[in-house]
Symmetry: C2
Subunit: 313 residues, 2 copies
Amino acid sequence: MKKYGFGVDIGGTTCKIGLFEITGQLLEKWEIPTDTQEAGKNILPNIASSLQKKMEERNIEKEEIEGIGVGLPGPVCADGSVPVCVNLGWKNMHVAKEMETLMKGIMVKAGNDANVAALGEMWQGGGKGCKQVVMVTLGTGVGGGIIMDEKIVAGANGAGGEIGHMTVNSHETISCNCGRKGCLEQYASATGITRLAKERLAQEHKESLLDKAEEISAKTVFDAYKEQDKVAEEIVEKFARILGRALSNIACVVDPEVFVIGGGVSKAGEVLLEAIEKHYRKVAFSSCKDTKFALASLGNDAGIYGCMKLVLE
Amino acid sequence: MKKYGFGVDIGGTTCKIGLFEITGQLLEKWEIPTDTQEAGKNILPNIASSLQKKMEERNIEKEEIEGIGVGLPGPVCADGSVPVCVNLGWKNMHVAKEMETLMKGIMVKAGNDANVAALGEMWQGGGKGCKQVVMVTLGTGVGGGIIMDEKIVAGANGAGGEIGHMTVNSHETISCNCGRKGCLEQYASATGITRLAKERLAQEHKESLLDKAEEISAKTVFDAYKEQDKVAEEIVEKFARILGRALSNIACVVDPEVFVIGGGVSKAGEVLLEAIEKHYRKVAFSSCKDTKFALASLGNDAGIYGCMKLVLE
């Protein structure tokens, strides 16, 4: 009987691995280093031997494994192959096929890491109980994942959910990392919030807790915001106005049940949600004015959960 | 053997009906009036008797019918029910169930008319051969339909594909029909293009074919554009810049294989596609710079094709 599965979230330095029951129960998780030497040729064999060791240790038979889901830091084609993955050194790697051979025929599926994290949050995290989820990851950049009918919208070129690169300001003069100008990521990421804060602080002076802050960061801005600091309020308002409007535009495309907000910036908690929601509801199209907002709840484990869910489709 | 199916596209004044082979071959199409009297209670019975008459006429048995797809001018829930449909006078109408009873158990599915038109264009029209399609309908308003993995993205509130109400200009002072300001529809619909034209013509005067036009409309603008009229070029450039950017933002969400452009404005043909494509490629995120563009090719039949495809899922 199929009872178990593995979720494997491959990052540039470590691979996170989870052993799950197919009900969604995480039984155990561990990490192994990602060996990117020699074009990453040892990555999959290392994972396979770690999984096999775990199966022996726990006395789990091959026949009891539903499948193995693999998340990767780059675009993945629908057939589970990877044209190129810079962070792992791979070129034309047929991840699903290779891993299936290494694991003696156990079914393997692969997906992009941001997308599988969104799937994980839908399944067992902030979006639990919903089938249509837009995940918004506010970290160094702004990432995303679109889940419709419990399935990842990967897109024709793997760019599904690349919401950080929606253009939100066609008058921007500074370039985004992607080379274009005015991307959402330039205002709504941790880096973006820091930039908005520095720009505000360089303008007319108003006394602020941020004057004494050792460094200006998304965290210090939200800390001051929680203390009702007026300057921090202006910065958060601007951030939330830009993000709220971008999400209202996303709602006109895919109309999710819930927006799940994750990434480092989301550690600010409920006040962050409230700020975004306020602006979203102000500008959203009438039919989708009441879309729910939730904080991501799986943290760094979202990827392994989503990988596990991949094989349950 | 299941060999046939019906596509029924219910509009406010007429119902378009198509008899199809399940291969996608349209065998015959006809129309009946939509009787919206008495809260539209005759609409489904009238359709049912028209379908039954056709089956008798052609000697088609119930067992040979795969199903009946129904398209409606309003939001449709996932179970085929309609909370409210102003144009038909319906409230809490369980379309799929009612129609199944009327048709003695033949399977019925229902969808929103803009969405089923998108599905039709994916199946047998401008998006044929693609599974991820964004349909953009430039008519009196701007409608849309999102098809991912050959399925309609209806959204949690039936607002999937409501791309006409993406906000593209937060500085707009004139209101959209939806009550908000700066919607894509205010610039990219036939009405929007007419408005852009009138605004341009009210500014500094430059000789133009439009000076002599009997009326200013999207058609006269594109006719002058085809004659290399400079003023028409300015108007079309502005329209295409706004629409191209909006489509580039949609690509960052769902990353389709193709944008299919339909609706009355699309009668302008290849020059319209070229203008939109030029601006799209200028601003699109690198991964989706090469997304294809195609003209819709089924015209008013897109709906019945899409309705037929609904039941083949």
